[in-house]
Symmetry: C2
Subunit: 152 residues, 2 copies
């Protein structure tokens, strides 16, 4: 090598040694584990993500929820309708100010979220425990930098 390129990393010949592959693998494992766990509670992963976000920040609109869960407005629209039909959230049909319709958890929504949350937390913890404790903060920061470098 020694070609003076800014990135001195030698590009891994094997695809499985590249960051993208590993990231995809870990994310697929997480998605799969969450799917399995949430099925017992009658929720899908996007539905759970939506409930969780809505619990922390009540009154979020469809578009805001979509950005917060990394899906399109259209996808979130479907998710919200499903949650609404299931009676887990409420959303006003109209609004005075603007077009954004603020969503809120119902009592049943809070119950369902609380039940599912423990299962999801257990998965997250299993994953967290799999890495050296003192490196967790670094990993969180690195994942952040990776994401920022890509959507920039």
């Amino acid at each position: 090598m020694h070609d003076g390129t800014p990135s001195s990393q030698t590009p891994a010949a094997d695809v499985t040694e590249r960051l993208g592959y590993r990231l995809k693998r870990a994310a697929a494992a997480l998605r799969s584990a969450m799917d399995r766990a949430l099925r017992e509670y009658g929720l899908t992963v996007p539905q759970y993500a939506c409930l969780e976000l809505l619990d922390q920040r009540p009154g979020l609109s469809n578009a805001e929820l979509a950005r917060g869960t990394f899906v399109t407005r259209q996808s979130m629209n479907v998710v919200l309708r499903g949650l609404q039909d299931a009676g887990l959230i409420t959303r006003p049909a109209t609004t005075d100010r603007g077009r954004a319709l603020p969503a809120h958890l119902t009592k049943e929504g809070h119950r369902r979220l609380a039940a599912a949350r423990s299962a999801v937390y257990a998965i997250d913890q299993r994953m967290t425990d799999a890495v050296p404790e003192q490196r967790l903060a670094e990993i969180l920061a690195d994942l952040d930098h990776m994401a920022a470098a890509l959507d920039g």
Copy 2:
């Protein structure tokens, strides 16, 4: 706290500070960037992943490719048919030994992969450059451990 649980990490109150959220965020950014880049070459992410895997290990069967790209056999079946219709891979209609049908890249498949590869590599490199160089190996290992802890 001080409850004596094996995991001494304090569970982050904010969802966005948990490993699962960050992992999902980074993976979503990667997926999005790859989608954008690959569209110029007429490929989807699963199609590209399939071609890449098939280039490194020619003769893989549908089921083996599915496992290697973290999708179901059924999904990979659709992908393979698409690639076959596009003339990027070939697959025998029958086989003497077993049921597995070994797939191979066509000349056009190699060409298309070579073209798309540079774009994907650039994305991977952008992501790799976003983290401290001396920590790359650790991150790769940690992602591996996380995945292993979940599908175990």
